[in-house]
Symmetry: C2
Subunit: 291 residues, 2 copies
């Protein structure tokens, strides 16, 4: 049996999230090749011992495990199934872990194409944002084959909180469904907190005292705690950018429609985010919908 | 200086909430007179040492502090300002504490009428439901005069968690505004959790695993914890009845409109509650909107 540490890892997508996540894999002693659209993003990791490859296919050719961390569904489709994509180089027996937040329907299609190459694909979107990525405290919601999940769990544990790495289901896309549920639950809570604090202010009541009182009761939530404070202080430095939340909610609405689920509260949140983005707030933290 | 324990208390409204709350005052050694529309509700308290009076005015005639705990705005208006109401018997220097959840606008009017009798009125709505009332762990959100607040704080502490008794502001109605904010924040969170768990189920994912995963991250909330479990188990024994939540949200919408605050997410929650009530769920726990 080959030990996990001996496996060759590949990491594609070195953005705000991917860079620190790949850094944790290196720091844990893993052998790592990387690829990114812009080469500059990889410099730091190459200095730390990663090897750069020119294409996703080149990364896949020598990797036992290929991790992707990309902004949106088309990016993942292109990096995995496009020209010079992962599928062109993927080894039999390899595992692809897509940690991006993308469409569950697209995930199912990609998982089928990976399976046709005698490899496995796991969807493993994360929650916790840039801070979670930097501190290796991400929550990770995983869908796909149970044996592949057990195999890669120690690798995921380099990037997330081991107690918060949950295997949601063996169906491809289960992790993405859970991530959507996460974004929907957060959206409702954020809309409620926004309206509550707006009313407190307009009614001439000290909104920070209201937040304090509400934190002691049934309205207590991480959203009230963290985003409530951001809203009160007007501090909307990201964090998690509004345009990415807008993308997640677009996927949420599509997926809800595909399964015949009514999401009227989520639709209200979508409108709030769209107004924020149209007013120039795309790169503010998404909690700015409560301004 | 007269010690608080020497003050004569009156309690009007011995419903599901009022009965255990009044019981805590007796248990703490306070002298207590009570009044309730139906006399049977007072039996237990009379056995425990309370004295029954025929009208709210009679309670007020001998009380230093009069507490009201009633279902809705018209009930409080009638008990305080109606025939044989508190105002008819109220002593100069007394404090009226209305712990009902009612309209802030009506509260301001009643507070002015109490002030005209050289007494003070505090609005002190609670959060925590029947369980909080029974366990004396209520959160209490108080509006009104600061000196009156300090005077009655030890009495409130018999019924609530001392760390969660918050003086929101000196303007009459400030406590009611805070309670509305509480119900709005809970509503958004509950709508988000409802839609998230509905999607998980319809998409064929284990909704209890989704709840577990979400509790570890940014979507964590008391609503996800407690109501999420109720929704998963289909256990909608109250708790807090849907018809009372509907009443609170009606007040929330009226108050938001009066202050020019848009509350589109709350409107969605109102629709969810109205559907539940119209389908016969008025006496289910309000979390049943997530069925």
């Amino acid at each position: 049996m080959i030990s996990v540490m001996a496996e060759q890892l590949g990491f594609i997508g070195l953005g705000v999230m991917g860079r620190p996540m790949a850094g944790h894999l290196l720091a844990a002693g893993h052998r790592l090749t990387v690829n990114n659209r812009s080469r500059a993003a990889a410099d730091e990791l190459v200095i730390a011992g990663a090897h750069m490859r020119n294409t996703p296919a080149d990364v896949a050719r020598e990797a036992d495990i290929v991790i992707t961390m990309l902004p949106d569904t088309p990016d993942v489709e292109s990096v995995i199934a496009g020209p010079d994509g992962v599928l062109e180089g993927l080894r039999a027996g390899a595992v692809v872990i897509d940690m991006s937040s993308i469409s569950p329907a697209a995930t199912r299609e990609l998982a089928a194409r990976v399976a046709a190459r005698e490899a496995k694909m796991l969807d493993a979107p994360v929650s916790g944002g840039e801070i979670g990525a930097k501190n290796a405290t991400l929550s990770i919601m995983v869908g796909g084959d149970a044996i592949a999940f057990e195999r890669v769990k120690p690798i995921l544990a380099c990037m997330g909180n081991p107690e918060r790495i949950v295997h949601i289901g063996t169906d491809p896309g289960s992790g993405q469904i859970c991530k959507i549920c996460n974004q929907i639950a957060i959206g409702g809570a954020l809309a409620g907190v926004s309206e509550a604090l707006a009313l407190a202010r307009k009614a001439g009541v000290d909104a920070s005292l209201v937040r304090h009182a509400l934190l002691g009761g049934f309205a207590a939530s991480r959203v009230l705690e963290v985003h409530g404070e951001r809203i009160l202080n007007g501090n909307f430095a990201p964090g998690f950018r509004a345009r990415l939340y807008q993308k997640d909610l677009r996927i949420a609405e599509e997926t809800a429609a595909a399964h015949g689920v009514a999401v009227p509260a989520t639709s209200v949140v979508v409108e709030m985010v769209e107004r924020l983005v149209s007013e120039g707030g795309a790169d503010l933290d998404y909690s700015a919908i409560g301004r």
